[in-house]
């Protein structure tokens, strides 16, 4: 058990996979000698060479297309796209081919591809700050995971690199510099299992990726005022671990969904619906980005994203809402 940086945890999982699986390769912009934008591939090029750790041109569509084709034909590629914004250039091979290959070929073709996307805002402006997890998790055939901490970054990447179909691995600009404990022995974190990051009894906050730390910070603020929040880290968005979320909400009776992306047709909407479909009405509220582009302007960026204070306020007003009785029938 050592303390490592998030980027090191990602790197270790990829390195161990390339060591163990000769068909595993990495492709992306500046993933080679440079070691990746966040040093998350540092040392891999030196260890595995240019045939297995490949710098690509700035051509996201072809990068993912090559990854899909290579995976379908027997390799296990990890394709890295440094900004999730640019997966918009690569959705055709991912959605129209990879997600459908197994179904449309009657199981003849599998696409064991990992597409690593870095989401979130950190001062880089309208085209370098977006979070599209809700889109990707809605695509049948895609699995989507999004670690919030070092241990999950490692364990989920290990699982992603062993999956038999396409996996979207979402990390976050603000997570790479964070650090945490990591078990020295190789291990996986299975898909479809959320984690209780903080036990609590008054309200449930459901989040993933960087927003988990925001939720925990908010829970800290609230506990000072006697409000005890449970924080659920989804970890896996597709498949989604509804059982863990429902167990928490049936205990607390209040659900706040938290995401860095847009609220409209977002993750929170899906979770709120599924939880209530299973548990019946509970107090629910959703928090996400303001419905506007995310500027690199520090004032505007800060104002457009959820922070601990806003999360705490959202929980307070959620707990203020008492009336969840049905309206009069017409």
């Amino acid at each position: 058990m050592r303390r490592v940086f998030f980027r090191e945890a990602v790197c270790r999982a990829v390195r161990e996979t390339l060591d163990a699986d000769p068909t595993a390769i990495v492709m992306g912009q500046d993933v080679g000698a440079f070691g990746g934008s966040y040093k998350e591939f540092s040392g891999l090029y030196e260890r595995f060479g240019p045939a297995r750790v490949r710098d690509t041109p700035v051509a996201e569509a072809a990068m993912v297309g090559l990854g899909v084709g290579a995976a379908a034909a027997g390799l296990r590629p990890l394709v890295s796209i440094t900004y999730m914004d640019f997966v918009l250039l690569a959705l055709d091979p991912l959605v129209n081919y990879a997600a459908k290959a197994r179904f449309k070929t009657g199981g003849q073709i599998r696409v064991p591809l990992v597409v690593k996307l870095t989401a979130g805002a950190k001062g880089q402006g309208v085209a370098h700050s977006q979070s599209f997890e809700s889109w990707l998790m809605s695509v049948p055939g895609l699995r989507v995971v999004a670690p919030s901490n070092v241990a999950d970054a490692y364990g989920l990447m290990r699982s992603a690199l062993q999956a038999d179909g396409p996996v979207v691995y979402v990390d976050h600009k603000r997570l790479f510099p964070t650090s945490g404990p990591l078990d020295d022995s190789p291990h996986e974190v299975p898909f479809g299992m959320a984690a209780v990051s903080r036990p609590g009894s008054h309200a449930t906050i459901v989040a993933h990726s960087y927003m988990v730390s925001v939720a925990l910070a908010a829970a800290g603020l609230l506990s000072a005022t006697g409000i005890d929040c449970e924080v659920i880290d989804l970890r896996s968005l597709a498949p989604l671990d509804l059982a863990t979320v429902c167990a928490s909400v049936s205990k607390t009776g209040a659900l706040l969904t938290l995401e860095e992306g847009q609220l409209v047709c977002g993750i929170g909407a899906e979770i709120a619906c599924r939880v209530q479909a299973r548990l019946g009405p509970v107090r629910v509220s959703r928090l996400g980005a303001v419905a506007a582009p995310i500027s690199s302007n520090p004032v505007l960026e800060a104002a457009s994203l959820p922070d601990a204070a806003r999360v705490a306020e959202a929980v307070r007003s959620l707990l203020r809402t008492t009336d969840i009785s049905p309206p009069p029938r017409g």
């Binding site: 068909t23 390769i25 045939a51 490949r54 690509t56 041109p57 051509a59 569509a61 072809a62 993912v64 297309g65 090559l66 990854g67 899909v68 084709g69 290579a70 995976a71 379908a72 034909a73 027997g74 390799l75 590629p77 055709d92 091979p93 129209n96 081919y97 997600a99 197994r102 179904f103 449309k104 070929t105 009657g106 199981g107 003849q108 073709i109 049948p140 055939g141 895609l142 699995r143 179909g165 396409p166």
Partner: protein, 311 residues
């Protein structure tokens, strides 16, 4: 390879033409993209391929699938959505696939298979057994950026990839001249240092000769190559699309029929007797009848089974 000799090529082209006629005659034919008129491109190309090579193509996939040696009955079954198809009837029109037969297959997104094929080539390169990936696409695909991104990476990484443009001069109703600026589409390969040539796609011998030369180049580590074949589409874009061409133009196109052309050549050369020809026609009729019967006998898929097989 059955098509490696002229009689075989003739037989395969006849089979594709006849199978499509049988298909469109069916009430349950539905939306289909026919190869009629363009058989020589698929058949001439396939003649240059080895068993472990992989062929990828556009949605216009019937002749390519048969040329690659897929069973006509299985192909027919897939096209009408029966479980005896290689994709269990789920892929159907535009998505024929049988990798075990070296036919990685069709993808109905125009230019969508180009980067996929480069990925397949990357996997074959890693395997190192000299197999190559071949991507067959239409002239319309040459307007898409995928051509550029794929050629650039394939050239940089010296991928064993042959790009074959089946240029039938139209994208649906849009003439190639109105959609593509290059004088020849094979010119697109030049900036990347990719070996390229353009041939008459209605002459199966010319296609085969060029395909053999370029597959050798690719197979022996020369990096990617680009082959343009000028062809003619005999039917409208799809079974559900209006015909936009003048009847005079269509008539002139049909006069170039690659099947008649090879048959006549072989007759002239004394390589094909009237009896052999009649026997061929008879064999093809029999094969198509058998294929239809086979497909007909196969059931439609069970939704719940299909829906359980995703991702």
């Amino acid at each position: 390879m059955t098509a490696s000799n002229d009689i075989g090529a003739l037989a395969t082209m006849m089979l594709a033409r006849a199978l499509e006629s049988a298909l469109v005659a069916r009430a349950d034919c539905g939306f289909q993209l026919l190869s009629s008129g363009q058989e020589a491109v698929a058949v001439g190309l396939a003649a240059a391929l080895l068993p472990h090579d992989q062929l990828l193509c556009s949605g216009r996939a019937i002749a390519p699938a048969l040329a690659r040696g897929l069973d006509p009955g299985a192909v027919m079954a897939e096209l009408i959505g029966r479980v005896a198809g290689p994709c269990l009837g789920r892929g159907g029109r535009g998505h024929l696939s049988q990798p075990s037969a070296g036919f990685f297959g069709a993808h109905a997104v125009v230019a969508g298979n180009l980067s996929i094929a480069a990925g397949v080539a990357l996997a074959l390169q890693a395997r190192g057994d000299g197999s190559i990936a071949v991507c067959l696409f239409g002239d319309g695909a040459c307007g898409a950026g995928a051509v550029h991104e794929t050629m650039n990476i394939a050239a940089l990484w010296r991928l064993p990839l042959l790009l074959v443009c089946d240029n039938n001069l139209y994208s649906v109703s849009t003439p190639r001249s109105a959609a593509l600026a290059p004088r020849q589409l094979s010119d697109l390969a030049a900036p990347f240092g990719i070996k390229a040539c353009t041939v008459d796609g209605m002459d199966v011998r010319a296609v085969r000769a060029a395909a053999v030369a370029l597959t050798d180049h690719v197979r022996t580590g020369g990096g990617p190559a680009f082959l343009e074949c000028i062809s003619r589409r005999f039917e409208s874009h799809s079974t559900s699309a209006r015909e936009s061409r003048a009847t005079t133009e269509l008539a002139a196109d049909r006069a170039l029929d690659p099947i008649k052309r090879l048959e006549n050549a072989l007759h002239a050369e004394g390589a094909l007797s009237a009896q052999t020809a009649e026997a061929l026609h008879e064999q093809v009729r029999a094969k198509v009848a058998a294929a239809c019967a086979f497909a007909e006998a196969s059931p439609l898929p069970v939704p719940d089974q299909a829906f359980a097989d995703v991702g």
